[in-house]
Symmetry: C2
Subunit: 242 residues, 2 copies
C-alpha cells in the first residue's frame, strides 16, 4: 500500500513540475514577443510637400538638408520628422525623442523583438501608424504608411529610421516580418537616419511595400502584425553567399 502511495506522490510531483515548466515557458515567450497595439494617425492636413519645403528653407541656410545618405557631422537643429504632421518644431537630435513622445504622443517600447500590431488597416489613405522602439542603446522610429502612389490604388509602406545620424544608422540592421495564411514576407535593411526624409524613403519605395490584397492576406480582423527585430550589423555575410 505504501508503495502505491509513494508512486502516486511521485506522479503528482511530475505533473506539478511539468505545469511549472509550461508556465515558465509561456511567460518567457510572452516576454520575448512584446505585442504593441498601434492605432492609426489620420490627418486631413497631410503635407506631402514638407520635404520640398524643408529643402527650400535649407537653401536659405536655416535648416539642415534633406538628402539621402547625407552625413551630418555636427549636431544641428533638425525639423520635426514625425510623419503626417506639419509640425513647426525644430531642435537637436537629442531632444527629438522627448518631442515625439510629448507632442505627438508616440509610444516608446523596449525589447529585442517586438510585434507591431497596426489596427484599422481599412482606413483611407493617407494614414500612418507610428511607434518608437528602444533597443541596443538607441531609439528607432517605425513608420507604417498607407498611401496612394497611384490614384485609387492604396499601398502600405513600412520603414525604420534611427533617431541618430546616418553614420550611427549604418551600424544596425532591422528586420520586418509578416507571417500569416501560409505566406511569409521578410524585409531586412540598414535603417535610415531620421535626418533623412521618411517621405523620400517611402516615395522611392526603398522599404517594405505591400499592395492592398497582400496586406489583407497578412491581416487578421483588420489588424496587421509586423514582427520587428534590430541587430548590430557587421558585414552582410550572406550577401557573398548568393
Amino acid at each position: 500500500m505504501l508503495f502505491f502511495t509513494q508512486c502516486f506522490g511521485a506522479v503528482l510531483d511530475l505533473i506539478h513540475l511539468r505545469f511549472q515548466h509550461y508556465k515558465a515557458k509561456r511567460v518567457f515567450s510572452a516576454a520575448g514577443q512584446l505585442v504593441c497595439v498601434v492605432n492609426p494617425t489620420y490627418s486631413l492636413k497631410y503635407a506631402p510637400t514638407r520635404c520640398a519645403a524643408v529643402q527650400a528653407s535649407t537653401e536659405q541656410g536655416t535648416l539642415p538638408p534633406c538628402h539621402h545618405h547625407e552625413v551630418v557631422h555636427d549636431p544641428q537643429l533638425v525639423p520635426c520628422t514625425c510623419p503626417l504632421f506639419s509640425c513647426p518644431w525644430e531642435g537637436h537630435l537629442e531632444v527629438v525623442v522627448s518631442h515625439l513622445r510629448q507632442t505627438h504622443r508616440i509610444n516608446i517600447l523596449q525589447g529585442a523583438e517586438i510585434v507591431f500590431l497596426a489596427t484599422d488597416m481599412h482606413l483611407p489613405a493617407p494614414t500612418d501608424w507610428i511607434i518608437m522602439h528602444s533597443c541596443l542603446g538607441h531609439q528607432f522610429l517605425l513608420v507604417l504608411r498607407k498611401q496612394e502612389k497611384y490614384e485609387g490604388h492604396p499601398q502600405f509602406f513600412a520603414t525604420m529610421m534611427l533617431i541618430g545620424t546616418p553614420t550611427q544608422a549604418n551600424n544596425f540592421t532591422y528586420r520586418l516580418e509578416l507571417n500569416r495564411n501560409q505566406r511569409r514576407l521578410k524585409w531586412e535593411a540598414t535603417p535610415r537616419s531620421i535626418l533623412e526624409c521618411v517621405d523620400s524613403v517611402i516615395s522611392d519605395g526603398d522599404c517594405l511595400v505591400l499592395n492592398t490584397s497582400l496586406a489583407q492576406l497578412f491581416s487578421d480582423n483588420g489588424s496587421l502584425a509586423i514582427g520587428i527585430a534590430i541587430t548590430t550589423s557587421k558585414v552582410h555575410s550572406s550577401e557573398a553567399e548568393m
Copy 2:
C-alpha cells in the same frame, strides 16, 4: 639541417592540405548553389485576357475552369499555361513539362537550391523570365514578370507554380530570396497549381512584388539574382509564434 628540412616539409604539407580543403569547400558551395542564367521572353502578342478566354470556353464545357484554389479531381486536358504566349496547345498534366520544354524551349533545372539569374531587366514590359525547377520528385515553373499594372509604372512579379494539382501543391513551400546592397527580401508561400491562372496570381499581387527602384537596388549590371528553395511543407509552425 635535417630538422629544418623536415620542418619545411611539414609546412608544405599543411599548405597543401589547406588548399585541398579550400578547393573542396568551393566545389561544395558551387554545387549547393546552381546559378541559372535566364533570358527574357518578350512577346508583342501579349494576351492578358487569355484567362478570361479560358474561362469563357470553360463555360461552354470545353476546358477546365481557371479559378483560384480549384481542386481538379480527375486528370483533364489543360491549356498551355506558358505565360506570354497565346498557345493553342492543350493536353494532360503529365505532358505539360515536355510541351514547355519542346515548344517553348524552357530549361529545366535540378537541385534543392538554385539561383535564378534574370538578365536584361531593363527591357520594356511586358516581359517574362521563365524556368522549370525539378525538385522533390515534382516539377515547378518559376515565372518572373515585368508588367505595367499602373500605366507608366512597371513592376516585377515573381511566383512559383507546381506542374500538378492544387492538392499536390499544398504539400510544398517555396522561398524566393533577394539579397544585395545591404537589403534582403524573402517571400515564402505555398506554390499555386499550374491549373490555376498565373495571370490571376500576378494581377492579385499574391506573389513577390518589386517596384522598379527596388529591383534596381537588387540588380547587378542589369541582372537580378533570385535564390529559390523548395521544401515539403508541414504546418507553418512559426505562424503560431508571431
